[in-house]
Symmetry: C2
Subunit: 493 residues, 2 copies
């Protein structure tokens, strides 16, 4: 909450637009949300202390004030006031508490983790990391590769989102390709940073996944601004114009056009809409640009003598034909770029997320094309349970109180339901391709009971946010020990 | 398009609010949409000729004008002009064409259907019908029961929606129960009409399914009206007030309150949100009211000497505990109402929709509680494929052109993917309860290749809109013949 010095971001709830605010904050505090809310998930990924669902706080973001009801009294926090938070206990303190930075390079920590790794054996632990800085952090915590790089997170940066929007607003392929050309060098640079940081470990890069309207202003906001515009004063108009990045005089023409495109992209259930490989199939030039950025980056880094292992991952595949379509684009670009660089021997892999039930039910066919599977258990939980992660909070308290769900299924993998789908897919996939590399990259990859499930199911690795890598390493060791003890009990019986 | 005489409803697209306009129309014509758009699905259910996706038409609903681009010329249709449509060919004619009413009671038709029924044998054909009139129509077409009554369709009627809204806007259980009390006699009357019409055949009644915000004004419209209100003239205010059913003077206070509740109910992915049995679990008084209406209606009709077979169906179950919870409410009310009426021998059934993959994966457990399964293949297709029916149209053309999907999976059951989930559930369900009654009530129940699949999978019946019942009877006969021929080939081989 301080304007100078360390900042705690205080919000009712966070949205993808807040990513940069969260990035510069030392901690995050929200009034609503649970363990798997946007704030919690992103903060966990960034290793930021975070307290969510502090429901006694009301936040007035315009006035930069937070009001807290505490023992019947109303306290007010303003920008510049000190507040301290404990993300583990979920506590908030007024004033400045003394804090210690954890040290993953300390001798004690390293010794303990080495003990765990001895038992963990071949079972891998990778990290989900989108930018080179996170990848470096992941290595510090012992990650053996990147299990998920969400390329779209790169597009939300301030210098990139205008090009992304231009790409989306383009009415024809030529204009779209022009906008993509601006994004190519930025993606290439990021990928090069990831390959460099991973120095010989594999890097799984997922092609564009979210629906395009996530990159545009919200439909209802544009509608409200259109309703307000005829009555707006010049100051208001100026503010509006700044929001949209156009001149105040252009608003009258620009807003209805923008609304039209936003309406076209509007979806009733975006989670089940035009996203994932469906984007790459309808706009092949997007997949092509991303493949080019990946392999040009691989060439750059390989030429420095660093071993590079790119794994290109196609999201939201439900039918092998979708993967065939996208794989053809990736392979074509890869061969072209690698030939030109005389690096034809550079080995790369093309695989897929398994995140919708149809993919699991037809995993034997998908494994014909896929060189690896990665379970996207966030979406697989949403589709298998017919349950939206963002909407579940509406009735989660009652469901957990009535013990209908033992735990939040987005935090702890629902082994009894979603787990059955995972097991089915592993079985079918390995039937077609016995050496199929299989991992998990959903939030569950860092949750101990879910890690144990992945071990038991015969996966090769789990991938989780960098700060959860030590937990996953430990959980995997525990799973290995439990498995050995079981085997011994059976031998002696 | 005529103000007097037969009306053709012309719209850009239809929404659930149009249900009564569609009901009084002789035909429906829309500018956008496909085979499974709202207009097409509802018109099919009502047996109305319907042409959707006539993209050369622009509709100005406020001015009651439709403009048609035809061979480079712009034609204008206004209210009162004649237009004729052919729903089978998808053709639109200016002017009045001569039409013939089909006669399902004719001798030729009856003879043909009897031939089909001889082969069909025990495999049943039921109809989806929400109101007594549709149930009677279904009987005329030979339906042997109702496979799906969507109780929420009854709530959209003009005299009912205010009570439904009062129920939703209620802040406490007492106010909510008061509103429900007003709905009870209306539901009872409808159910009595269904039992009466079905005269000894079973009637499957589904408890409340859609998310509650479907019954409230749209969020973005309320937001825009709030933005407009300070600048609105008295005429505009009056119009607004009429829309919301409050006085013009109340708008200033009412709109923000309404928005607040609409915001609370707003969902990111309503299809995967707070709906189905999740509503009945968080608001048990709703299930209780509906069960009471069902069994009081059953008593009323049974006392007239008509055989009544109620089957109460709980939607969106994913875990047996959800069904246990709702079944307990239904059974308690049933025992109470039937005892009081000295009708303890009246046999009723409690079962569930199978419409999310988790239910299929745990169907053995669910069959412990469920006395019947009915596959809701619309939602099961959405969840298994991770594909929203309403949003699929955004990329359906490309997907079908690239042959990624052989056909629209919402029109023709995806046997290769969704079908595997169905087969799995049938196998597990019958393992627990060998005599489990199994049917289908999704749109696919009236599509020939899907009917054949249901026959092969060992289901007991299909259920479809009344006007598709003859098609389903014929398709079932063809499936039976194909099955016999196969058996004979195997015997002689």
């Amino acid at each position: 909450m301080s304007a100078k010095g360390p900042v705690v971001l205080v919000r009712k709830e966070t949205t993808p637009d807040d990513i940069h605010g969260m990035d510069v904050a030392k901690g995050i505090l929200t009034a609503v949300g649970g363990l798997t809310s946007h704030a919690a998930v992103v903060a966990r990924g960034m290793g930021r202390p975070c307290v969510v669902g502090a429901s006694s706080i009301s936040v007035d973001e315009a006035k930069k004030l937070a009001t807290i009801l505490f023992e019947g009294k109303k306290l007010t926090l303003k920008e510049g006031d000190w507040v301290s938070i404990d993300g583990t206990l979920g506590e908030v303190y007024l004033g400045q508490c003394k804090t210690n930075e954890p040290d993953p390079k300390s001798h004690d920590f390293a010794m303990f983790m080495n003990w765990a790794d001895e038992f963990r054996g071949k079972f891998g632990v990778r990290a989900n990391a989108d930018i080179p800085r996170d990848a470096k952090q992941a290595r510090v915590f012992g990650a053996e590769g990147i299990g998920l790089c969400r390329t779209e997170h790169m597009f939300f940066a301030e210098d990139r989102i205008p090009h992304m929007q231009a790409m989306i607003l383009a009415r024809d392929e030529k204009t779209r390709k022009k906008a993509l050309q601006k994004l190519l060098p930025m993606q290439r640079k990021d990928f090069a940073g990831l390959f460099q940081a991973m120095d010989g470990f594999p890097v799984v890069i997922r092609t564009l996944d979210p629906p395009l309207h996530e990159f545009l202003p919200k439909r209802e906001n544009v509608m409200v601004d259109i309703a307000k515009l005829p009555h707006a004063g010049s100051k208001e108009k100026k503010q509006m114009a700044a929001t949209y990045g156009v001149g105040a005089g252009e608003l009258k023409k620009y807003l209805p056009e923008l609304l039209h495109r936003v309406e076209e992209l509007h979806e009733f259930n975006p989670m089940l809409g035009h996203r994932g490989c469906r984007l790459g199939i309808t706009y092949p030039e997007v997949t092509e640009m991303q493949a080019r950025a990946i392999f040009e980056a691989a060439v750059l880094v390989a030429k420095k003598g660093v071993k590079v292992i790119p794994e290109v991952m196609i999201p939201l595949v439900g039918d092998v034909k979708e993967l065939e379509n996208q794989k053809a684009i990736v392979v074509k670009v890869a061969e072209e770029v690698l030939s030109a660089a005389n690096l034809k021997n550079l080995k790369y892999y093309v695989g897929t997320m398994i995140e919708i039930p149809r993919a699991a039910m037809t995993a034997d066919e998908i494994a014909r094309e896929a060189e690896f599977f990665s379970f996207g258990t966030n979406d697989l939980t949403q589709t298998t349970m017919g349950l939206s992660r963002d909407d579940y909070t509406k009735f989660s308290k009652q469901y957990e109180a009535l013990k209908i769900f033992k735990a939040d299924p987005f935090a702890v993998l629902d082994q009894h339901g979603v787990g059955k789908v995972v097991e089915h897919a592993v079985k079918l996939g390995r039937k077609t391709r016995p050496d199929l590399e299989i991992g998990i990259c959903g939030e569950h990859g860092g949750e101990p009971s879910s890690v144990e499930f992945c071990y038991r199911t015969g996966m090769d690795y789990v991938s989780c946010s960098p700060y959860r890598v030590p937990i996953a390493r430990l959980a995997a060791a525990q799973a290995a020990i439990a498995d050995q003890s079981k085997a011994e009990v059976q031998r002696t019986a």
